[in-house]
Each structure stands twice: as C-alpha cells, then as structure tokens.
C-alpha cells in the first residue's frame, strides 16, 4: 500500500518538510491519472472534456510548484527523481486517502468518478475519510505553529532565490508568487485548497448557490486570489462532465447542474488498457519498447524537475520541453492496438527508471 501520511499535528521543521514532500508527491500522483484519460480522447473530439481535464492538470502542476516552493522557502529540498516519488498504479494517494484507489484508465464515466474521489471536498466526504484539503489544512496549521515558535526565521532569506519564479511558469494554472513569509506561504497554500476543493467555507450549506458569474455560469475558486474569471473547483468541474450538464447561476450542490448539456461522446476514445503493468507488454516487444521510451522521457523529466527545484530553476525551461515530448509519446502509444485482438490499445505504465537501469547507464 502506498500510504505515507503520518497522522499527527506538525510540530517540528522536519515534520513540515515531510508533509510538504508528501504534498509534492500527492500533486504529481494525480497527473498520470488525469493525463491518461485526457490523452485517450481522440483528436478533435470531446473538446469540452479536454479543456476541463487540461485546466485541472495545469492547476495540479501549479500546486506542485507551490508546494515545492514552500518546501524550499523553509529550507527543505524537494526529492523528485526516485522510484519512491512515483506510485505504481492502481494506488492509494500518498496523503492517506485509503478509501479509494486512483486508476490509470481511458476517459469514461468510471474515470470521472475516480477523479471525483481524488478531488472530494471535505464537506462531501464520509466521516473519517481524509481529503486533500484537510491534508493541506494540517500543513497550514503546522506553518502557524512553527512560525509562532521560530518567527520570520522559518523562511531563511537565502532560500528566496532558489524557488521557481513566475517567469519560468508561463501559461500555467495560476500565478506563482514567491514564498518569503507566513502571509505569502498561506497565500500559496490557499491557492491549492481553493482550486481543488473550492474556497474553504466554515458554514457549508449544500443549498447555498455556487458563486457563479451572471453570464458564463463558469467561475472560479481562483478569482479572489488571482482576479481571474470565476470557475468551479476541480470536484464540480468533473461533476459537470459526469452529469453532462453545466452549473449555472443559482445552482447549488443539491440542485445539481441545470444549465446547457455538455456534448460528450465516450466512443470517441482510445480503448486503452486499465492500470497497465510492464508485464502486460512483455509479449509485444515493439510496444514494450514504446513504453520504455515513454518511461525514459518521464525519468528525464523527473531528473530535470529535481534539479530545477534544487538550485537550478533555469532547467524548468528544458523540463517543459520534456513535458511536451512526453505528451506526444503517450498519444502515439495510445493509438497502437494490442495484437491480442482484445480491442484494447496500449498506454504508458508511468514508471521511473533509475539512471543505473537506463541504456548506457552504470
């Protein structure tokens, strides 16, 4: 079981660093899930679903960057390029959400239900089930505790320049702001919670209308933070897709979406293998090779991200290039039918290959 959460309040710097590292792993672990579904959609189809999933992916990467900046700002070092960083799917999420497993699968109602579990707001979760938002609330409390004890020294001045700055983060899911004190740390954390679960609300009322704009009906947990058009939190964005309708002004969590229908065609999707393992491809060396090529690119990406977050932020430019390469490799692989006549297509296994195990490695 992939489950690293230490259930305790954060009282030491080591504990804060541990949880922030976990946050980075958590944010990254959602990406293979969302990207497998996104890339399985056939070119030029299901535009709305593509836009929604892509918007969430962009924001997950933004959350990862925020969590990493927080870790760096408090004197820690993100550890990204190791097999332990990346879970093997299907997996429990690393923040202790033991009540479901995240799957790699094609775009489908089942996939969307899986997405909803990942993005479940605390108010909707069953008693005792941990959500991502609660995990981050623990970090927020820990920051406060440590700041009370250590003071501004919690954010050493020599850690400011090591963070990923906005200039490296073009076209992303939000604006990166440097973490230099408690206020900026809380700002970065709130951005994560607000985009994922929606702005935390002390008095959750499922009959309270969503704070949607008058015209579009699509709005945001972000707008107070970034002055962006409002959009729904991840959970409700995926919920719209699953139900096939838009939320409009006046809709509430209880009313469900009453707006226009969202055109979705689950047939215009490559029927990729669910939770593929390298063993699945052993009988097909040519496909196994595509998977290895994908995993080598993924490993290069994790290496680049690791270095970018450990003192060489310029490397993020190269890492973004690698991300685009990864996308093309995944898309190509998904167009390849397995020769077993099962009607299923190949899809990447998302494994990190350590440097010593790579071709020419030692």
């Amino acid at each position: 079981m992939y489950h690293k959460l230490q259930k305790r309040p954060i009282e030491t710097l080591e504990q804060l660093h541990y949880d922030l590292q976990l946050a980075i792993e958590l944010e990254f672990s959602t990406l293979p899930v969302y990207l497998t579904a996104l890339y399985s959609i056939e070119e030029g189809t299901n535009q709305c679903a593509c836009t929604v999933i892509r918007s969430v992916v962009m924001e997950e990467m933004f959350h990862l960057t925020n969590a990493a900046n927080l870790l760096i700002a408090t004197g820690g070092s993100p550890a990204i390029n190791s097999p332990e960083f990346l879970p093997t799917f299907p997996t429990k999420l690393p923040d202790g959400e033991t009540w479901f497993e995240a799957d790699l699968q094609k775009f489908s109602p089942e996939a969307l239900q899986n997405f909803l579990n990942i993005e479940m707001p605390a108010a909707l979760a069953k008693e005792g089930d941990i959500t991502i938002g609660e995990f981050y609330a623990g970090i927020e409390n820990g920051l406060q505790t440590l700041h009370n004890r250590i003071g501004p020294e919690l954010f050493p001045a020599d850690c400011h320049d090591k963070q990923i700055a906005h200039k490296y983060y073009y076209g992303g899911g939000g604006e990166i702001t440097p973490v230099t004190d408690l206020a900026s740390a809380n700002f970065a954390l709130n951005a994560i919670i607000a985009q994922g679960e929606g702005v935390p609300d002390e008095c959750w009322d499922p009959d309270q209308p969503f704070p949607l704009g008058d015209t579009t009906g699509i709005g945001s947990g972000d707008h107070q933070l970034f002055m962006q058009p409002r959009e729904l939190s991840h959970y409700y964005r995926f919920n719209e897709l699953l139900l096939g309708y838009r939320y409009v002004q006046g809709d509430t969590p209880n009313s469900g979406p009453t707006g226009p229908a969202i055109p979705i065609d689950y047939h215009q999707v490559y029927n990729v293998v669910k939770n593929p393992q390298p063993e699945h491809y052993q009988p097909y060396p040519a496909i196994a090779r595509l998977d290895t090529e994908f995993n080598l690119t993924l490993s290069l990406l994790l290496d680049q991200l690791h270095l970018a977050f450990n003192g060489q932020p310029d490397l993020l430019v190269a890492a973004v290039g690698t991300m685009f390469g990864l996308k093309e490799k995944a898309s190509s692989m998904m167009r390849v039918p397995l020769p077993d006549h099962s009607g299923r297509n190949a899809t990447p296994t998302w494994r990190y290959i350590a440097a010593k195990d790579r071709p020419g490695g030692c």
């Binding site: 496909i287 090779r289 595509l290 290895t292 973004v320 898309s331 190509s332 167009r335 190949a346 071709p359």
Partner: protein, 162 residues
Amino acid sequence: MYRLTDFYRLSATLTGYDEVELQGTGVGPTYCKTLSQWVRQDVIQELYHRAEEIGSLECESNQAQFYDRIWNCAKLGPVARNIIKMWYLSIWYQLPADWNALYGVDDFSADKQPVEDYVISSNAYIQGLVWNALGSHPMGAKQPGYGTWAFPGQSAKPLNLD
C-alpha cells in the same frame, strides 16, 4: 480492397520506422485509403506480394533484391517512392505521366487524378515522419516549449533499447 495490415508492414519496410511507430501517428488508415485512391489495386497487391517475398531489408542480399525488383521496377518503384514521401512529407505527389499512362487508374477523368501534389490532411502534416527524423517538430503544431529552440537537436532514435 483495404488491407491496413499489409500497408503497415510494407510501410515499415519502406520508411525504416517500426509498425507500432507508424500506427502511433494515427494517419495510417488515411494513407492506406489515399494509396487506394490513386493506385490500382492490382498494382498495390503486386507491391505487397513482392515486398513480402523479399522480406526484411536488414540483410544485404535482400536489399539488393529490393533495389532490383521494387526500387528500379518501372511499375512498382514510383509507387514505393510515393508511399515513402507520403509518410515523411504528408504529401501525395502526382505519379509521373508515363507511369500513369501505363499503370494509372482506369478512369482518367479529372476526379480520378490529383490535379496537383497535395497535403493529405491537416493531421497528416503534423504526423509527418520528417519532423521526427530531423529531430524537429512541425511548425505550428506539437509545440516543443518556449526557449527549447536554443537547445541542441536530438537524433530521431537516440537510445538503443535492445
């Protein structure tokens, strides 16, 4: 007749790319249809059969046979070359007039012959093998990321995974 499996096998021989890599472009079915549109079925079948007889081009004697029996064949050579150009450049080139006169589709009416070379589809342009072979990307698509143009190029197959 529409024989995608044969088309992929022949295309792998002609382009030097694995069948799975060609399948991964997603444009194989369109190319197979394009070939059938401009070349007679009996000519296509003959090309498939002859390539099959010759086998893998990894051994030198087969390569020699390939040159003799396909590349330099007045009937099959131009078709083989067009298939390669189709995969790499995403363009269907007009077959030579003298070839058309001898082996072209039966009906020479305007709609049976392309009036000029043409890009097969917008997606075909994106999937052209030439970009990968160059270590580049199709201009306007498959964007490689801001600033990556300043990095050294990569060869098409940098890693030996065997």
